[in-house]
Structure formats: structure tokens, C-alpha cells
């Protein structure tokens, strides 16, 4: 009986060690972050547009709930972003030259980025992740770099009081092949986090102006 309990405990212990290392994705501290920055900057300079699908998963730890939403993402240099949710609801955000357009089933609003701090910060995170200037902003973030076999991970800790209010850490996962963003994770002070996986990426496809039009 004692043996059985002991082996069960060993099993649980081994499983928890294995699963926790799997959760970390076997990422080790990056040996040469300067080289990664160089590679990324070179790659980002070549990117003018990005078109992708996304699957967003909000994990509510205490409630053991996941909220999954899906949509479409368009980016054009320098600061144009179209973020469109299509499932399970329709919701559109367009960011263009400091203006935000928000459209849902009921109404359409045009806002100034400066008047909506949280929105402005989240949009800056998405655009900054894509363009790579996010982890060069030492006033806003402290940065640590990690690497695995086929991907890189950059963890950013917000330093400004505004951002600290709603974000504890941002994790950006990069595909090692084209050094483009594959996943974005936003970790909240409560322990909840939102994971956004980008799918079917098209780099430098032609995106018409109308897609970013704010009337």
C-alpha cells in the first residue's frame, strides 16, 4: 500500500515537473539578444504589410473559463491597423493616424487615440510587436529574451504606471524562420491572460486603402 502511494506521488511529481517544463516551451535564455534584435530589425524593415487571421483565447484562471474569439488582422506601415472580430460577434477596430474607428452591431464611433489610454496602449503593443519597436522602448518596458528550437520569445514588463494597471507582462513569440510574430500573450495582474495566435500570414500583400479608411 505504502509502495503504491509512493509510486503515485512520484508519478504526480514527475508529471508536474514535465508539464511545467512543457508549459515553458523549453525556452532558454537567449545567448545573443543583440543578434536577434539585428535580425528582427532587418526583417521588420522589409515588411510593409501583413495580413493574417487570428484566434484569441482569454483565459480566466479562477473561473476556469476560456473565451475564444476569431477574426482578421491587417497591418500597413507605419501605423495602420485593421483588427476585425468575426466570431462569435462582429466588431471592427481601425487605427489610422492617431484616430480609432470602432464599429459594432449597433453603432460606429471615431475616437482620438489620446483620449482612450487602454486602447492606445493595446494598439501600440500590437503595432509595436509587428514592427519590432516595442522591445526597443526601454522607458516603457524591461525586456528579457529567450529561445527554443524553432521560435523566439521576448518577455516585456511594463514600467509605466498606466500600463502596469492592466498588464503584468507581454510575451511575444516569433517564428524562427521569418522572425515574424506568431503569438502574442498579454498577462494581467489578476493572473488571467489573453493569447492571440496569428494564422495564415501573408507578408507584403497589397491591401487597399479603403480597409483603413476612417470617415
Amino acid at each position: 500500500m505504502r509502495m503504491k502511494i509512493r509510486s503515485l506521488l512520484t508519478g504526480i511529481l514527475m508529471f508536474s515537473v514535465l508539464s511545467s517544463s512543457w508549459c515553458q516551451g523549453n525556452y532558454a535564455e537567449m545567448k545573443n539578444p543583440a543578434l536577434f534584435r539585428e535580425k528582427f530589425t532587418a526583417s521588420a524593415q522589409k515588411i510593409n504589410t501583413i495580413e493574417a487571421g487570428f484566434i484569441q483565447e482569454k483565459n480566466m484562471s479562477v473561473l476556469s473559463e476560456k473565451i475564444i474569439t476569431k477574426g482578421h488582422f491587417l497591418f500597413r506601415k507605419e501605423n495602420m491597423l485593421r483588427w476585425e472580430y468575426t466570431d462569435p460577434f462582429r466588431y471592427l477596430i481601425i487605427l489610422n493616424n492617431g484616430k480609432i474607428l470602432i464599429r459594432d452591431d449597433e453603432k460606429q464611433n471615431t475616437l482620438d487615440v489620446r483620449n482612450n489610454k487602454m486602447f492606445a496602449e493595446i494598439n501600440a503593443i500590437i503595432i509595436g510587436s509587428v514592427q519590432g519597436n516595442l522591445f526597443n522602448d526601454e522607458k516603457k518596458f524591461s525586456t528579457s529574451f529567450f529561445e527554443a528550437k524553432s521560435s523566439y520569445l521576448v518577455k516585456l514588463k511594463p514600467l509605466t504606471p498606466n500600463m502596469k494597471e492592466f498588464l503584468k507582462e507581454i510575451w511575444i513569440f516569433f517564428d524562427a524562420v521569418d522572425i515574424s510574430v506568431a503569438r502574442l500573450e498579454m498577462h494581467e495582474p489578476s493572473g488571467d491572460y489573453t493569447k492571440i495566435d496569428f494564422t495564415g500570414k501573408k507578408i507584403n500583400a497589397v491591401i487597399p486603402d479603403e480597409k483603413f479608411l476612417i470617415p
Partner: protein, 217 residues
């Protein structure tokens, strides 16, 4: 004898006045004191005990602030229900729990906390999420719409008008009738299983408008 007649006529008029007064003041069809919610035909619960969870898409307007996002309402135990509001990107604005009589703020976006928002929202959300077990009086009032049944309700929470759907017995509106502070108007439309399809909450005192549309269970 005269004295008796006087006494008799004055008591008769007193009775008449009392009768007239009660008749005029209450167009009530029926009246029940010491009403126990859940045991009578009309319940005070919007989300009854069989409710587990519901995800709503919603807008939240308070004063000049306009927010949109998702509201997750979940029963986490038999005596506990939680409401979490986050924006479309997943960032949480607030996470409140009603456990028994307790109100627990698990998280509140600090800028909201500065404006005492949890305190302001506590009673309005309680109306929606927690059945009132302190009802002392329910008085049926007249209704112009034969499909609706209206009750005047008094409880430790205050005085309300509850409007029910005649056939299903489900609550369609909860409206505080007397209190000046914390005056709330809650309207419920349609049903998606154990949850309303649409929920509108309005509090004119704090200029709060919440509109929720059911997405999924």
C-alpha cells in the same frame, strides 16, 4: 343611547373611510405579506438555481465613458455568482463576486476603483444577479398589458416594481420605485435557456447604461 349611536355612526364612517382609503390606495388584485421568494408563483431571481453560465457582448456607459466588451456571468457555487467584464482584447475591467450577502471585488481596473465604481455598481448588479430573499411585501398592481403582471415589492433592498411575463412567470423588468440614490431600472428581453437574451440596466443617478446581448453558454 345617543352616545352609542354617535359612537356607532362615527365608527361606521371610520370604517367607511378606511375601506375607501385602502380601496383607493391599492388597485391591488391580491396582496401577500411575508412572501418567500421561490415558494410563490413569482420569483425574484433573474438567474435561477439551474443557471450555470452565460457570455454576453455588451456596452458599458457611465457618465462620458463608453466601453465595449464581453461580460461573463458564472455561478461558481450554489451561493456564489460572478460577473467579469473585459474588453474585446481580453483586458479585464472588473471581476465581482456575490457570495451569500458578501460582495467581493476580485479585480477592478485601478482607474475605475479611483472613482469608487465597485461600490456604485454593487447594488445595481445585485438586483440582476442575486435573488432578493428579504422581500416582506408583494402587492399586485394593475397592468395595462394583459400579458404582463406587475407587483409592488418591498424588501430590505428598498421598494421596487417587478414586472413579470404572465405566461412564463419570468421577470421582465425590475425598477426601484422610491429610493432616490441607487435608483435602477433593469429590463430583460427574451430567453436563451436559463438566461435572458438581452439585458438593459439603467441608473439615472450615476448616468449608467449597460446593454448586454447573449452570445453563448
Amino acid at each position: 343611547m345617543q352616545l352609542f349611536q354617535m359612537k356607532n355612526s362615527s365608527s361606521r364612517s371610520l370604517l367607511l373611510i378606511l375601506l375607501l382609503w385602502t380601496g383607493l390606495s391599492s388597485p391591488a388584485v391580491c396582496q401577500s405579506k411575508g412572501y418567500v421568494p421561490g415558494k410563490g408563483p413569482w420569483t425574484t431571481a433573474v438567474f435561477d438555481s439551474s443557471f450555470v453560465k452565460a457570455l454576453y457582448k455588451g456596452t458599458f456607459d457611465i457618465s462620458k465613458t463608453h466601453l465595449t466588451g464581453l461580460f461573463m456571468i458564472k455561478r461558481s457555487a450554489s451561493n456564489s455568482i460572478r460577473i467579469v467584464f473585459s474588453n474585446e482584447f481580453g483586458m479585464t475591467f472588473f471581476d465581482f463576486e456575490y457570495r451569500g450577502d458578501e460582495f467581493i471585488v476580485h479585480y477592478c481596473y485601478p482607474s475605475f476603483e479611483k472613482h469608487s465604481l465597485p461600490k456604485i455598481l454593487e447594488s445595481d448588479f445585485r438586483l440582476l444577479l442575486v435573488p432578493d430573499t428579504t422581500v416582506t411585501r408583494m402587492k399586485r398592481l394593475g397592468s395595462k398589458d394583459p400579458e404582463l403582471v406587475i407587483f409592488g415589492v418591498k424588501s430590505a433592498r428598498g421598494s421596487f416594481h417587478y414586472t413579470y411575463d404572465h405566461d412564463s412567470g419570468k421577470i421582465r423588468r425590475m425598477q426601484s420605485s422610491h429610493s432616490i440614490i441607487g435608483r435602477a431600472d433593469l429590463r430583460l428581453y427574451g430567453d436563451k435557456g436559463t438566461a435572458p437574451n438581452k439585458i438593459y440596466l439603467y441608473n439615472p443617478t450615476i448616468r449608467l447604461h449597460i446593454k448586454l446581448t447573449f452570445l453563448s453558454n
